[in-house]
């Protein structure tokens, strides 16, 4: 980044940017993010989607979960003033269903990401810090999960759980179980690099115990790559949830999910494209928003790209 070198040279300090207090990796990264259009755009979109997910009734006067709002006689009607996105096979309002469907996507995305990052991050920290048999054990277990192809593995897990028990919880479980090894690997690598730094040795020489060294000296210096993967995972998991629901093993009716809506409308696509196109559009925008966030965070935190 262009401004990261300014602090090193006193001559440049007279420039207007001297107002920027030169500081840690985190405040540098935050400075970059605030000035990144990609981040601001992605963050605005993501925020909007989170608000939609939290308060769908603010955006739609129709309660999509109430079957009495559907009218079979309107089935597959096109776009009209009362139904902006048309109506689906059962005559339900596509707009309100798209709005209410955001919740599943956002919840699955956030919960699966948190679960993966916490489990993978914690185990990666242990594996990298303690090394030896702890590392061997955790890394081998991670590799077993890593070897399973993700959509296939998730399909299998969800098939075992069964349709009757399928829902947000099982989708989150299926995605997290297969994704944590990636976070573990990244965390482990970062911890191993950090562990050999002089300041860790210095902390030991000044009497810091192992837990303190791990939490205070290694974790803050090793967590950046995990944060990047975490942000990127948000988009990936949202897309994966839609894929699983589309395949019929994820979210089940009467719950609303964009993937499920796409699946329901696909047979009548030529006749009534709106009920398929609008959830697909929202899905794309959501994934795009989180991928943009992830990209911007990576740019800000990855020292190799600076």
């Amino acid at each position: 980044m262009s401004n990261s070198t300014i602090t090193a040279s006193p001559a440049e300090n007279t420039k207007p940017e001297k107002a920027k207090k030169p500081a840690s990796l985190w405040s540098d990264a935050w400075y970059d993010l605030r000035h990144s259009k990609v981040f601001l755009f992605g963050a605005a979109l993501a925020l909007l989607l989170v608000i939609i997910a939290a308060f769908p009734s603010l955006f739609s006067s129709v309660d999509a979960f109430n079957p009495s709002t559907c009218d079979l006689s309107r089935a597959r009607d096109g776009i009209e003033s009362a139904h902006w996105f048309g109506s689906d096979n059962l005559g339900c309002d596509t707009y309100s269903r798209v709005i209410y469907g955001a919740r599943v996507s956002i919840i699955v995305g956030i919960v699966a990401t948190l679960a993966t990052s916490i489990v993978g991050g914690f185990l990666g920290l242990l594996a990298g810090f303690y090394g030896k048999w702890t590392d061997v054990l955790l890394s081998r277990v991670a590799e077993i999960f890593f070897a399973i192809p993700s959509i296939l593995g998730a399909l299998l897990i969800l098939a075992v759980i069964g349709r009757d028990n399928a829902g947000i919880g099982s989708v989150v479980l299926a995605l997290s179980v297969l994704a944590w090894p990636l976070v573990l690997r990244i965390m482990r690598a970062a911890v191993i690099t950090t562990k050999s730094q002089d300041y860790v040795l210095a902390a030991r020489a000044l009497g810091a115990g192992p837990v303190r060294i791990m939490v205070r000296h290694i974790l803050p210096n090793a967590v950046a790559p995990v944060i990047v993967v975490t942000t990127m995972n948000l988009g990936v998991f949202i897309a994966a949830e839609a894929a699983l629901s589309f395949l019929g093993v994820g979210i089940q009716s009467p719950d609303i999910s964009w993937g499920l809506m796409i699946a329901d409308s696909r047979n009548r696509f030529l006749e009534a494209p709106a009920p398929l196109l609008f959830p697909a559009l929202f899905l794309s925008i959501t994934v795009l928003a989180f991928v943009m966030l992830g990209d911007a965070v990576r740019d800000a935190l990855d020292p190799k790209l600076r």
Partner: protein, 350 residues
């Protein structure tokens, strides 16, 4: 190294300069450290002994790979084991062998009783925390102070190591300080808990010459104030002269000369020390070619037979190739691991 290490009789050694019969504050006794590597066993330290009393400064001199830092890290207990291993030796602090203590007991000693200053303060300070936080952490963790009190102590310490405008700079990050200031912060952290022994591992190597003098002066002053014992590890003879009381010169993982600092400068008793002294640039020799010790430092994986220094030694005789020289006592306070220390003292080269 295939030949056995010589049995160094520690009673011959002028180990303690303190009153006879009393245990020195810190005594390293016949310490051996080896590293398991893919290429084989590296014997980094082969029977090092030295002793230190309160208020004393011992300079450990030697080139890279001579084992001086490894000895210090063994004292601190911060060697990674494995690959490191301590097959033999004792490190006694106030009479207790540190090597026999549990890891948690050693953690208690680190920082509080024996502390260490590292060579490169930028990499030895945690980049994500402010210096104030890092100094204050010492008080929070070990003294149980609250955040505010710990910060007040941190500012006090920064003043004590002469960081200008300490109050304003307490919330700055390590990379915002100059090299000398960073080293002062490192020193502040290491003396925070009033340790009895301070090990400074090349504290001035990463600094420029004017700053080096200031840092050495600061260390000497702090030592006078608190009567700390100090081990100063360096490869720079110039740094040593003013600060140290005694010198231990290391070569190939072994002490080759032990002496009070002024004796060494006046009249070295080991050819390696002599070579080191002669290779210091001097104003009165302007225009002449600078002396250099010929050859390369020994390969620790494949040590020369006999005396490790023999391939580079101008005093070499046949028995240097075969016999490892023991540490000969020259006087009550001096010793030299050279078969021909008399000739070296007399300056007779062959």
């Amino acid at each position: 190294m295939t030949n056995p290490a010589p049995a160094v009789d520690t009673h011959l050694l002028p180990a303690d300069s303190g009153p006879p019969g009393t245990e020195p504050l810190l005594a390293v006794d016949n310490l051996h450290v080896e590293f398991k590597t893919r290429q084989g066993l590296v014997r980094a330290v082969n029977g090092v002994s030295y002793a230190l009393n309160a208020g004393e400064t011992l300079a450990v001199l030697g080139e890279s790979g001579s084992g001086k830092s490894v000895t210090a890290q063994a004292i601190m207990g911060i060697l990674d084991m494995p690959p490191a291993r301590i097959p033999k030796g004792e490190i006694r602090f106030r009479g207790t062998d540190l090597l026999k203590l549990s890891e948690s007991a050693r953690t208690q000693i680190r920082g509080q009783q024996i502390a260490m200053v590292f060579q490169d303060a930028l990499s030895a300070l945690n980049p994500v925390f402010t210096v104030g936080w890092q100094i204050a952490e010492m008080f929070r963790v070990h003294r149980g102070l609250r955040k505010k009190a710990a910060y007040a102590k941190a500012i006090e310490l920064m003043d004590r190591v002469r960081i200008p405008a300490a109050r304003q700079r307490v919330n700055d990050y390590p990379h915002q300080f100059s090299g000398g200031m960073r080293q002062r912060i490192m020193i502040a952290m290491s003396i925070a808990l009033d340790p009895d022994v301070l090990i400074a591992d090349e504290p001035t190597t990463a600094l420029d010459v004017t700053v080096q003098a200031q840092i050495m002066e600061l260390l000497a002053e702090l030592q006078r104030e608190s009567n700390m014992a100090m081990i100063l590890i360096t490869h720079d003879l110039g740094v040593v002269a003013d600060v140290a009381d005694k010198i231990a010169v290391m070569y190939g993982g072994r002490i080759v000369e032990n002496a009070p600092v002024h004796d060494v400068y006046k009249n070295p008793a080991h050819p390696y020390t002599k070579g080191l002294l002669e290779s210091i640039p001097r104003v009165d020799q302007k225009g002449q070619e600078l002396y250099a010790i010929k050859g390369l430092p020994p390969n620790l994986l494949d040590m020369p037979s006999g005396c490790a220094f023999h391939p580079r030694c101008p005093f070499r005789q046949d028995d240097c190739v075969t016999d490892v020289p023991p540490l000969h006592a020259i006087s009550g306070t001096r010793s030299s691991a050279c078969h021909y220390w008399r000739e070296v003292l007399d300056g007779v080269e062959r």
